[in-house]
Symmetry: C2
Subunit: 544 residues, 2 copies
C-alpha cells in the first residue's frame, strides 16, 4: 500500500549540464521528460525526432492549447464534472527521417555507439549525438540540436549535423510537420502503470483534423483543428542547408514535409537547419489563424538559426545573471537547483497574462492544467525577478474571475471559487476528492495578492482587480464555512488540507488559518481604500 | 451541498397493504420499486407488463445472475478494479400486449380511470386494476395479478382478467418472453439524476444473445446468454385460459410469444394465466441449461395458478405467524414495519447458501451486490426465524473464502479480506473511497459468527468453517493495522468507519473496537477448541 520514491543516479552531475551518456531504452520516457525544452508558448519532450520504434512518448505541447475529453466515473455525484479540457499532444515539428543506403535510422534497431544527450541549462539548448554504424559498416556521426526560442516564442529551431568517419556519400532526409501524433492519456490515466497511461487501445488517440497544407515561398505550412474545442494550430518551417538541396514536397493526410539528399564528404560536417514557426488562437476561425500564422512565418523568414540562438542565449544569460543560485561544494545540489529554476522559467517567463506556470508542460499527466502551486510556490520567484510578471500571474486569475463565479455556482457556493485544476478557468479534472474538497486555491491566490502588495505595493492593481478577486473569494469561503456547534467559532468543514491526502477534515489548521488571514486582509484593504481611494472603494463595492 | 431526504405520503396507509390510488406518471419508477415482488431466486419490479411508453424502468432480475462491465476512472490508482460483476436486467417474462379494435393499451396514451395498484404483504401478491375507455368508448376493466412463487421459486405466475362493462367483443393479446430488455446502469451511474442512471445513450444496453427458441408441448421456451460472463438463462411459459384460445407462435430475435384473441361477454370476467418457469446456471453450458430448464418446466406443467398461489400463500402465512410484529395505534408504523419485513424476506429466505440478502433486488442501482448489511443488520432476523438460515448465510461467506484471500492479495494484505461489495466473491464496484477504506466487512462477518455461536451454539459450524474464516480475517486485519507512534497501541489507520462518509480516519472507534473483539473472540474460540475439540483445533491450525 505504500508508494516508494527512490532517487536513481542515471544522469551525470555537472553544474550547468544534464548529461546522459549511453542510452538506456528503459529510461526513455523519463529522459524525454528531463530533456524537454520549452519557452512558455510551447514545449517539446526530448524525443528522438528521427523516429524511434521503442517505448517512448513523442510529446509536443502548447501551453493552454487544449481539447475537451469526457470524464467517466463508476458513480457520478453532484458536482462531478463530465467533460474537462486537457492539453493536447500537438504537431511534431521536429519530424525527421534519415536513411543511408536504404537503411532507416532508428535507435531501437540500428547499431550505434558514443550516445550522449546533453541539456545545457545556461543556454537552454538540447544536444544529442551518437555514432551510427550502418549495416554496410559506414560510420556516421550525427548531432541533433534544438531549442525553443525564448525571445520569439513562436519559433522552434532544429539543427542536424552529419559527419561521416569512413565514407563519402549520400544521406537521405525527410523533414516535416506531423499532426498524426498520439494523445496517450485519452486512453485513461492509469497510475498503476509505469508510463502513466493505459494503452490498451492505441487507436483513436489523435484529435486533429487537418484543414490546409501548402508549400509557398519555401515555407512548408500545415494547419489542423482540434476535435471538440475547435482550436486551429498553424505550423510552418523553412529549411536552410550548407549545401544546395533539391527538396521534394511531400503530403500525407496530417503531414507536410520535404524529402532531400545531402552529399556527405568523409570527415567533414554537413548541417541543415529547420526553422519552425507555430501559431494558434483559441477562438480565431481557420482562415484568420492561417493568415496570421503565415504573416508571422514570413516575418521570421530571414532569421537564421545562429541569429535566433544569439537572441535566445542573451535572454537566458540576462536571466541567469539575476536569478542564478550558486552553491559551493555540492555539485549535485547545484545542478538540482539550476535544473529546477530552468524548468520553472521554461514553463513560464511572463510573456502572456493568459498563460500560467502549468503543472507539467513536458508530458501528459496532470493534463497541462494549473493548480494552486503557481500562487503558493512560484509567484515570488517571478515577482522578485520582475514585478510586472508578478502582476501578470495575478491578472491571469482576474481574467478568469467570471469562470470562477460559475465554478462556485456549480457546487452551490457563492462568489468565486477558483478551480482546483484548470485550463479554461473552470474545473478540468475528475479526481473529485481533490477537486471538491481542496478549497484552498482561493487562499493561495489571496496569499499571492497579499505578498505582491507587501513587496511591490502595486495599489493600482490592488484597488482595481485585486480587491474584486478578494471580495468574491471571501464570499465563496464564507458560504463554504460553518459555525462550530461546540463553541460557535467559524471554520471549514469536510475539506482536504494542503497535505492533499486526508479527506473530509474539519477545521484543518492551514485552511482555517489562511481563511482567517484572507478575511482580515480583505477588510484591511477595504479600510485602506476607503481612506486613500474612496472612489475606487465605491466602485469595487458597487461592482461585486 | 446537502442532500435532503423528505418523506412523501403518496401511498395509502393500511396494515397489510400498500395501495396506490390513481396513477402519477412522475412517480412510476418509485412505484415500480415499491411494488416489486420477489422470491430470492428472482424479482420483477412493479412495471406495466402490457407495455408503457412513459418514463419507467422495466426490471426483471435474478439474484446472483450477473454480467461483467468495465469500470472507468478519471485516474486509476493501485487497487482500483477495472471490471466488476453487476446484476443484469434479464428476461421480461411478464411481457404482454393488449389491443381492442387495433388500439393498443398503453397507459401513457389511452384514456383510463379507477387506477389502483395494491401490494398485499400478507400474501406477497401484486394486483393492478383500471378501467380502460377506448377511442370507441368501449369500457374494459382489466386486472393484473402477479406473484413469484416462494415454494417453487423457478415459477412466476401472472393472471390477467378482462371485464367489459358496455360491450361484448374481442380483445387481442400477445404474451411472451422478451430478452430485449435494457440494462440502464451500463450507461453510467449518475447520482445527480433522479433516475439514478444517465441515459445519454440508450443503445447498446442489452447484453443478451439469444441461443435458442422453441415451442414444444405448449411450452414456449427461449434461452439467452450474457455477453462476458456467459451465463445461460432459460425461460418458458404455458398459457391457461378459461376459454379455448388458438395461439399463434411468434418469434423475434430475442423473443418468443403467443398471439391470440379472447372473446369477451359484457359484464362477464374472462381470464388467462401465464405460468412461467425460469432456470439458469452460472457455469452450465448452453445445452445443459436448456435440458435442465425444460425438465423443470415439464415438472411444473400440471401446476395451476390457483395451486401455485395456495402453496405460496401458505408459505407466507407460516412466515407471518412466526415473524409478524404487531404495532397497535400507529397504522403507518405498522405498515412500514411489515413492508420492511416483507422486503427483506422476499430478497432472501434461505433457499440457497449461494445467495445472500443483496442490497437491492428491485432495481439496478447498487448493482445487485451484497455489502456488510447482511451480517450486521439482517442475520439475526433469519437466525431467530430459523438457525438453519443463519448458518446458510455464514456458509455463503465460507464458499467465497478463497476469493476473499485473492481480494486481500490485490491490495497487499494477508489472509482474507471480504469485499466491500460483491456478487462473485471479489470486489465488484469502483467507488474506491468505500471499497478501499471500509475495512469493517470482516468485522461484520465476525460479529455474525459470534452472535450465531452465542445464540445457536452450532459448534459444528464454528469449529470447522467458522474458525477458518475467523483466522483468515484476523490475519488480514493484523496486516492492515499498525502501531501508534505515540503510545505503541495497535489500531487501524486511514479507514472509513461505519458512517460511510469520513475518509482516511485513524483509530475509528467502531473499527478499532470491533477489530479488538474479533481478535479476542478468535483467541477464545481457539482456546475452547484446544480443550473440547483438539482434533479440529489441529486441523484448523494446520489448514490456514
Amino acid at each position: 500500500m505504500h508508494l516508494v520514491k527512490t532517487s536513481e543516479k542515471y544522469f551525470k552531475v555537472d553544474p550547468w549540464l544534464v548529461v546522459e551518456e549511453g542510452f538506456d531504452p528503459a529510461k526513455q520516457r523519463l529522459s524525454e521528460s528531463i530533456f524537454s525544452v520549452a519557452n512558455e508558448f510551447m514545449c517539446v519532450r526530448g524525443y528522438f525526432e528521427e523516429g524511434y520504434s521503442g517505448d517512448h512518448l513523442l510529446g509536443s505541447y502548447f501551453s493552454q492549447l487544449y481539447d475537451l475529453m469526457d470524464i467517466k466515473y463508476p458513480q457520478r455525484f453532484k458536482g462531478f464534472i463530465t467533460e474537462g479540457a486537457t492539453m493536447l499532444n500537438a504537431v511534431d515539428w521536429l519530424y525527421t527521417r534519415i536513411s543511408v543506403d536504404g537503411e532507416e535510422l532508428d535507435l531501437a534497431k540500428v547499431k550505434f555507439s558514443d550516445f550522449r544527450r546533453t541539456l545545457d541549462l545556461r543556454n537552454a539548448i538540447l544536444k544529442r549525438e551518437f555514432l551510427w554504424t550502418t549495416a554496410q559498416n559506414k560510420q556516421l556521426r550525427i548531432t541533433f540540436l534544438r531549442f525553443t526560442n525564448m525571445v520569439d516564442t513562436a519559433m522552434g529551431c532544429q539543427r542536424i549535423i552529419f559527419e561521416p568517419l569512413n565514407f563519402s556519400g549520400e544521406v537521405k532526409v525527410c523533414s516535416g510537420l506531423d499532426f498524426d501524433t498520439i494523445y496517450e492519456l485519452a486512453a485513461g490515466w492509469d497510475q498503476t502503470e509505469g508510463t502513466g497511461s493505459s494503452l490498451e487501445k492505441k487507436e483513436n488517440l489523435n484529435f486533429w483534423t487537418c484543414q490546409r497544407k501548402e508549400l509557398t515561398d519555401g515555407l512548408y505550412c500545415i494547419q489542423a483543428r482540434t476535435e471538440r474545442s475547435k482550436i486551429n494550430l498553424f505550423s510552418s518551417f523553412r529549411l536552410v542547408a550548407d549545401q544546395t538541396v533539391n527538396p521534394r514536397y511531400v503530403e500525407r493526410e496530417k503531414f507536410v514535409g520535404a524529402e532531400f539528399s545531402l552529399q556527405l564528404q568523409k570527415n567533414q560536417a554537413t548541417a541543415f537547419d529547420k526553422l519552425v514557426v507555430n501559431h494558434w488562437e483559441e477562438t480565431g476561425g481557420g482562415e484568420q489563424v492561417w493568415q496570421n500564422g503565415l504573416r508571422l512565418a514570413k516575418k521570421y523568414s530571414a532569421v537564421t538559426y545562429e541569429g535566433a540562438f544569439e537572441n535566445h542565449k542573451q535572454f537566458w544569460s540576462d536571466f541567469w545573471r539575476r536569478m542564478d543560485i550558486e552553491i559551493e561544494g555540492d555539485p549535485e545540489l547545484q545542478q538540482g537547483v539550476r535544473y529546477s529554476i530552468y524548468t520553472v522559467y521554461s514553463n513560464y517567463h511572463g510573456e502572456s497574462d493568459r498563460r500560467n506556470v502549468i503543472c507539467k508542460l513536458a508530458g501528459e499527466v496532470y493534463n497541462g492544467v494549473n493548480f494552486w502551486d503557481t500562487e503558493i510556490y512560484c509567484h515570488r520567484m517571478y515577482m522578485f525577478l520582475n514585478p510586472e510578471i508578478g502582476r501578470k500571474l495575478l491578472m491571469y486569475r482576474y481574467h478568469y474571475l467570471p469562470r470562477a463565479l460559475e465554478n462556485a455556482k456549480r457546487v452551490d457556493l457563492e462568489g468565486a471559487r477558483y478551480p482546483f485544476s484548470t485550463i479554461t478557468g473552470v474545473e478540468e479534472m475528475g479526481a473529485w476528492q481533490h477537486v471538491e474538497l481542496e478549497i484552498h486555491q482561493n487562499l493561495a491566490i489571496y496569499y499571492a495578492i497579499w505578498h505582491y502588495d507587501k513587496v511591490c505595493q502595486d495599489k493600482q492593481f490592488l484597488y482595481n482587480e485585486g480587491i474584486e478577486i478578494l471580495l468574491q473569494m471571501c464570499r465563496c469561503m464564507a458560504s463554504w464555512g460553518g459555525w462550530s456547534p461546540k463553541n460557535g467559532d467559524f471554520g471549514f468543514y469536510g475539506v482536504m488540507g494542503p497535505d492533499e491526502f486526508h479527506m473530509m477534515v474539519n477545521h484543518n489548521c492551514y485552511t482555517n488559518y489562511m481563511g482567517k488571514k484572507m478575511f482580515n486582509y480583505t477588510l484591511a484593504v477595504l479600510a485602506e481604500m476607503k481612506q486613500t481611494a474612496p472612489d475606487l472603494y465605491d466602485k469595487a463595492v458597487k461592482k461585486v
